[in-house]
């Protein structure tokens, strides 16, 4: 059990041959209100010691359910068939997790297999120190003295790269950043030295730059601890970066299984091929932006901008004598008619605040922001009202941006009714049908309720609603970040197509450089509320001037294992510099 401190045997079990987990003909059904539903259907998988197996697929493909079965974490509504045979790290014992119950199952968890969760802040208990939480795993599996537990907690924290672990071990989760919290979760998984770690979307909640660090750490888990990893993800870049072998799941079945470099180079299954095609890559949009730029008239530059921010500052008021929080500070940029400005940044960079201010949802506190000729600093709702129909807004989460009690047709008709273009939703139906067709939704979908549509369909309906009044400016706040890659690709295509035909100006906010690149004429990079860099796609992505932009760009994993390995080196050099 001292393997945590024992560095002499890296990748010890790698050639032992015996797989750490073998999944045979696994099928899982859930009892739901609508009868039983099969989520996993005859899955066979094997993970060798010290191997990283990535399970990819769109949401609902059964990848998370498969992963949870390995830990016996299925809810009581689930019924499983088949076998999930876990072998411990020494290869001395085998357990079929599907058949295990109670205490026996508890013994396997933690020692043979551990889990890393998606949302690090939710997986840590806020009222205990991280040291205590790491030690709890040790206490659950055998008698460990207080001092010994602490020593091992400090040790494992050091090894996952928490600086100053002797002091930090007594800190509470809120005193760590998001990336550090994920490191602590990984430390908790590693402390019992399991043969297998199941990582369910371990980097989805993190920013790109932090994601790169966590992926490095997971790679070290494999190399130094000899731990096998089952990586659940929908991000092909992450797969390319970390995985040795990839299993592609689609509708509960594994459609393809291959070593990573083979899968990316020569995908066999139809589905895999199309999945890879739909992953946006940086650099694809530059040519398109140039075509658009060349088609513009000479005097276009001189036209009055649709949005003009001049030293714009937005501060959220602080509470009780605490200073306010400045979300956007001193930002100056402009969007001219018919132009798509992509706004990128990490979480907390102020990009959403900026978009909301443009739509008049957040008050401007300093500087000047002119939207369609109206000064937003100190604007009254009454002055804003005539401009409202000229601005469309697409929200991030299509699930919440529709009133769940109105049909899609009613929702899309709402702007028409509110602005007096139609007296009732029924009267607006003709126009609504046109709009639905414009976003490639069948007319009959208008009679459905939002929850009866999938995410991508809802986001298209959301686009229809935003375009209902023929706006001159469309603000899109992370419109595709809640969608699967394959769906995202189609929504982005649609967006580009509509923009080309209708010619609206757009502020397109995203955390994903590749997505922004695909659509934008110009790209602006925000960092901690400040504008770091602005320019055309070729300028910003092709030849970034600022250190931060370079790091952001290098952190973005590309869906190609060989290219990604090179980029990893580049990033390491950048970090060292």
């Amino acid at each position: 059990m001292s393997a945590v401190t024992d560095e002499t045997a890296p990748r010890a079990g790698r050639d032992a041959g015996r797989p750490v987990v073998t999944i045979r003909d696994l099928a899982v059904s859930f009892a739901t209100d609508a009868g039983s539903v099969r989520a996993v259907d005859g899955v066979d998988l094997e993970v060798a010691p010290g191997e990283v197996l990535a399970v990819v697929g769109e949401s609902g493909s059964g990848k998370t359910v498969t992963a949870k079965t390995i830990l016996g974490l299925l809810p009581s509504t689930a019924t499983a068939r088949g076998a999930v045979v876990l072998t411990n790290k020494d290869g001395t014992a085998e357990h079929d997790v599907v058949a295990l119950r109670g205490d026996r199952l508890r013994q396997v968890r933690g020692t043979d297999v551990a889990m890393v969760f998606q949302e690090p802040s939710a997986a840590l208990n806020p009222v205990f120190t991280v040291g205590w939480q790491i030690a709890e795993g040790l206490r659950a599996h055998g008698k460990v003295g207080k001092r010994e537990a602490r020593r091992r907690a400090i040790d494992v924290l050091r090894r996952v790269g928490i600086p100053d672990p002797e002091k930090r071990v007594d800190h509470y989760p809120h005193q760590f950043s998001g990336g550090q919290k994920q490191r602590i979760i990984i430390a908790m998984a590693l402390v019992l030295d399991p043969g297998l770690i199941v990582a369910d979307e371990p980097t989805t909640a993190l920013d790109v730059t932090v994601q790169a660090e966590i992926l490095d750490l997971l790679r070290r888990c494999r190399d130094e601890f000899g731990t096998a990893i089952v990586l659940i993800t929908h991000n092909m870049g992450v797969v390319a970066d970390l995985a040795d072998r990839v299993a592609v799941m689609y509708q509960g079945k594994v459609v393809e299984q291959a070593p990573a470099h083979e899968l990316f180079a020569a995908p066999q299954a139809d589905y895999t091929r199309k999945l890879l095609e739909s992953v946006p890559r940086v650099g694809e949009g530059i040519a398109r932006a140039e075509v658009r730029a060349s088609a513009r008239d000479a005097g276009w530059d001189a036209a009055q901008p649709v949005v003009a921010a001049e030293r714009l500052t937005i501060t959220y008021p602080g509470r009780l004598r605490k200073p306010g929080f400045t979300a956007v500070s001193d930002v100056s940029l402009a969007i001219r008619p018919g132009e798509v400005l992509g706004l990128v940044g990490e979480s907390g960079s102020g990009k959403t605040t900026f978009a909301r201010a443009v739509a008049g949802l957040t008050r401007v506190t300093g500087g000047s922001l002119r939207v369609l000729g109206v000064e937003m600093n100190g604007v009254k709702e009454r002055e804003l009202r005539p401009v409202r129909p000229r601005i469309g807004f697409v929200f991030q989460d299509p699930a919440t941006s529709f009133n769940p009690l109105l049909t899609i047709a009613d929702c899309v008709a709402e702007p028409l009714v509110v602005h007096g273009r139609a007296s009732s939703p029924e009267e607006a139906r003709g126009r609504v049908d046109e709009l639905l067709e414009a976003v490639q939704l069948p007319r009959s979908y208008g009679d459905r309720f939002p929850h009866e549509l999938s995410g991508g369909q809802r986001q298209r309906a959301s686009l229809a609603r935003a375009l209902a009044l023929d706006p001159e400016l469309l603000v899109a706040d992370e419109p595709t970040s809640a969608l699967d890659v394959s769906v995202q690709a189609r929504v982005l295509e649609l967006f580009a197509e509509l923009q080309r035909e209708l010619g609206f100006a757009s502020l397109f906010v995203s955390h994903d450089l590749a997505v922004v690149d695909l659509l934008s004429d110009r790209i602006a990079v925000l960092y901690r509320g400040q504008l770091v860099e602005e320019g055309t796609g070729a300028e910003v992505l092709g030849n970034p001037r600022e250190e931060y932009t370079k790091r952001l760009l290098a952190s973005l994993p590309v869906p190609d294992p060989i290219a990604q390995a090179e980029r990893r080196e580049e990033l390491r050099a950048l970090r060292g510099a």
Partner: protein
């Protein structure tokens, strides 16, 4: 402009079969829907509660035909009933110390109880929900004032408040409707804060939802946002509180009657009053005067509480029990966006989606797809649509404190 982009598609109208079947309106009514949804013990509880409540309502409605005598009748053709007569053929449950027929008083009492419940709950819903909507939506000083007021009302023992209100409203004298209204309004005062808090907490939550923002971006007026977008989404938890409050209302009414602030026996029958008059009988071996009104109270409260509690459990996907899938069964869910063709039906235009006949088959299959959330139960439980349905007053007050912090 959009019209130009749309391809002329005569095939776009799908056959009616493609429309999702949402079940008849009847099946989606609050209680009926839950009854169909429930299984096992939960179903037993709900059915028992519904049966008891049903008997109560029927008794109340049919009291004039069911009761052998009037509620204030002391004599019939054969002369006076006599006080404290034991159960007999003429008086199945005996007579009270005042000489009333116990069975008749119990039956007529159901009517009084039902009227009080209905009036009290209607009044408190209308007031509480409206105030909660205004307070939650606009916030500011009005919100603070109303919250403090609600807190202040909470601080009073509810029965004391009800007594005060009964005196203020009825002014000491009580006719049947006067008594019923007095009792109902005094209960209303106690309940309004509950509806207010629950509605306000829901409204504050919904106000932050993206669809309200999206209405604001359109320039929708406050009134329209409040009633069309917010209110309709904020009423989900109300049926639950109504059933739970209904049983509390009966207890409050009985308490008022027992303490002598109820309705005069000559104006209407009231269980609490009868219990009060039966106090001295119990020690002298006269059991029938106290037992039956008491039993009526217990049964009705039990019935309504059973309904309320089961609705509470059924509304929460985490507490709802389902028929276990005996073995691995069921269809693989169509979780793809355009099933079988997420990627093939490219953005090439409408034809790609609905041009071919096969495509409309696919769409027809789509509605059968169960809610995607249901397939990933971890998500469903975390953010199940009915999760906020636990919004009992306690929950509301936790929301409250978080909100204030």
């Amino acid at each position: 402009m959009v019209a130009e982009t749309t391809v002329a598609t005569g095939t776009s109208v799908l056959p009616p079969a493609a429309l999702p079947s949402r079940g008849s309106r009847w099946k989606r009514l609050p209680v009926v829907h839950q009854l169909r949804q429930s299984v096992g013990l939960q179903r037993g509880m709900l059915v028992a509660g519904l049966v008891i409540t049903g008997i109560f309502v029927l008794t109340a409605a049919l009291a004039p035909w069911l009761a052998p005598y009037g509620y204030s009748q002391l004599r019939d053709a054969d002369g006076a009933f006599g006080a404290q007569q034991p159960p007999s053929a003429e008086h199945l449950l005996g007579t009270t110390v005042g000489g009333y027929d116990v069975l008749s008083r119990v039956i007529w009492g159901a009517q009084t109880a039902l009227l009080v419940i209905v009036v009290a709950i209607l009044a408190s819903i209308v007031l509480g929900v409206l105030l909660g909507l205004l307070s939650g939506y606009f916030g500011g000083w009005l919100d603070r004032l109303l919250v403090v007021l609600a807190d202040a009302i909470y601080a009073f023992p509810s029965l004391l408040l009800a007594i005060l209100m009964a005196i203020v409203i009825s002014g000491g004298q009580s006719s049947m409707w006067g008594g019923i209204l007095a009792a109902a309004f005094s209960i209303t005062v106690v309940f309004v804060p509950q509806y207010f808090r629950v509605t306000r907490a829901e409204v504050v939550r919904i106000k932050g939802e993206a669809f309200v923002d999206s209405a604001r971006v359109l320039g929708t007026s406050h009134g329209r946002i409040m009633f069309r977008h917010v209110l309709r989404n904020a009423t989900r938890t109300l049926p639950l509180i109504v059933t739970l409050n209904a049983s509390e209302a009966i207890l409050t009414l009985a308490g008022l009657g027992f303490l002598g602030f109820g309705i005069e026996p000559t104006k209407a029958a009231e269980w609490g009053y009868d219990l009060n008059k039966a106090v001295s009988d119990v020690t002298s071996g006269i059991w029938w005067t106290a037992l039956f009104p008491g039993l009526a109270i217990v049964l009705v409260v039990l019935g309504i509480t059973l309904v309320g509690e089961s609705l509470n459990d059924l509304a929460d996907p985490r507490l709802r029990s389902r028929r276990a899938a005996a073995e691995v069964s069921g269809e693989v869910a169509e979780t793809s966006v355009v099933p079988g063709g997420t990627l093939t039906a490219g953005p090439g235009g409408l034809d790609a989606i609905e041009g071919a006949g096969s495509r409309s088959d696919v769409l027809a299959a789509a509605p059968a797809r169960p809610d995607p959330d249901a397939i990933a139960p971890d998500d469903a439980t975390a953010a199940g649509p009915a999760a906020p349905a636990r919004g009992t007053p306690d929950d509301a007050s936790t929301d409250e404190t978080e909100d204030r912090r």
